[in-house]
Symmetry: C2
Subunit: 146 residues, 2 copies
DNA sequence: CTTTTTTAGTTGACTTTGTCAACTAATTGC
DNA sequence: GCAATTAGTTGACAAAGTCAACTAAAAAAG
């Protein structure tokens, strides 16, 4: 692989780290921290998800998650249920309150992105989409192998 | 802007957050933490950079940076010099030792990327490059406006 | 079976990362 | 020359992440 390719991809990573940082920064004036938001996202989209699945998906420390779930529990955002099939595992679901709060957060994030995209000509959005899809497709092949 | 565009871009952000996380994770078994590496990068590429420039570029708290520079100083990785033109500002440079250590870190990061790309067919690297350049170009327009 | 080993999650102790506000010293604007 | 601003430092603290020891359950080995 040509050195330029390596360098350019690293440059893109730095650039995109900045973009994501900006987006996160403004979003997370909310009542949730960034990792909290990511965990809520996973639970919302996979009802009765196992703690271990969140850990694997988000590459997260299990102790850290366990404590985060405690605080969600205290706030009545989630319910935890021992698996009937495997008494070591815990299924996690959002309560009605948890769903509502996540949806609020999610909408704020969506609005933010919409505002950002509104600064661009319409066709740029579509272009972004295509380029991102292509990158995602290529990198998916490597992801498990890094 | 179509809702799909918004959702897809957010999906890409989640995906790419994961990629960057993986890369960082394996790289930073080094002696530097991630923000330290980013700061060293800036100093390496902009000799005699001002603290304020690093703060602006990396969107970083000045207190946090100030302390980080202290530890670099203790390790003799950088030198700090008051600006002659503005006695409040400090110019930061890498010492020979600092350059050497950064280069080591940089090479490790480069190697990691090379290994990752080696998993892909040659043409995928070039494709990635093009898509990334396009995204960078489009998003650069918005960056200051988020 | 029942003993060992592995696995899922919890808990404790700690480090790193990041934030905020008060402060010092220098500079700029009036 | 004085008030307001600015660059960076310091103190105090909160958020994020790591690591290892531990508990309880399940799976594997005998």
């Amino acid at each position: 692989m040509k050195p330029t390719v390596v360098e350019e991809i690293r440059a893109f990573n730095r650039f995109y780290t900045g973009i994501i940082g900006l987006l996160d920064q403004y979003l997370l004036k909310s009542e949730f921290t960034l990792p909290e938001a990511r965990v809520l996202y996973e639970i919302y989209h996979h009802d009765a998800i196992l703690a271990g699945e969140i850990i694997a998906t988000l590459n997260m420390d299990k102790g850290y998650l366990s404590r985060m779930l405690d605080t969600f529990d205290q706030k009545r955002l989630i319910s935890r249920n021992r698996s009937a099939r495997d008494g070591r595992s815990v299924h996690i679901s959002l309560t009605a309150k948890g769903k509502k709060e996540f949806e609020k957060l999610n909408q704020a994030s969506r609005d933010q992105m919409k505002n950002m995209l509104a600064l661009l000509p319409e066709e740029d959005g579509d272009k972004l989409l295509l380029h991102m899809a292509a990158i995602k497709q290529i990198l998916s092949k490597t992801q498990k192998l890094i």
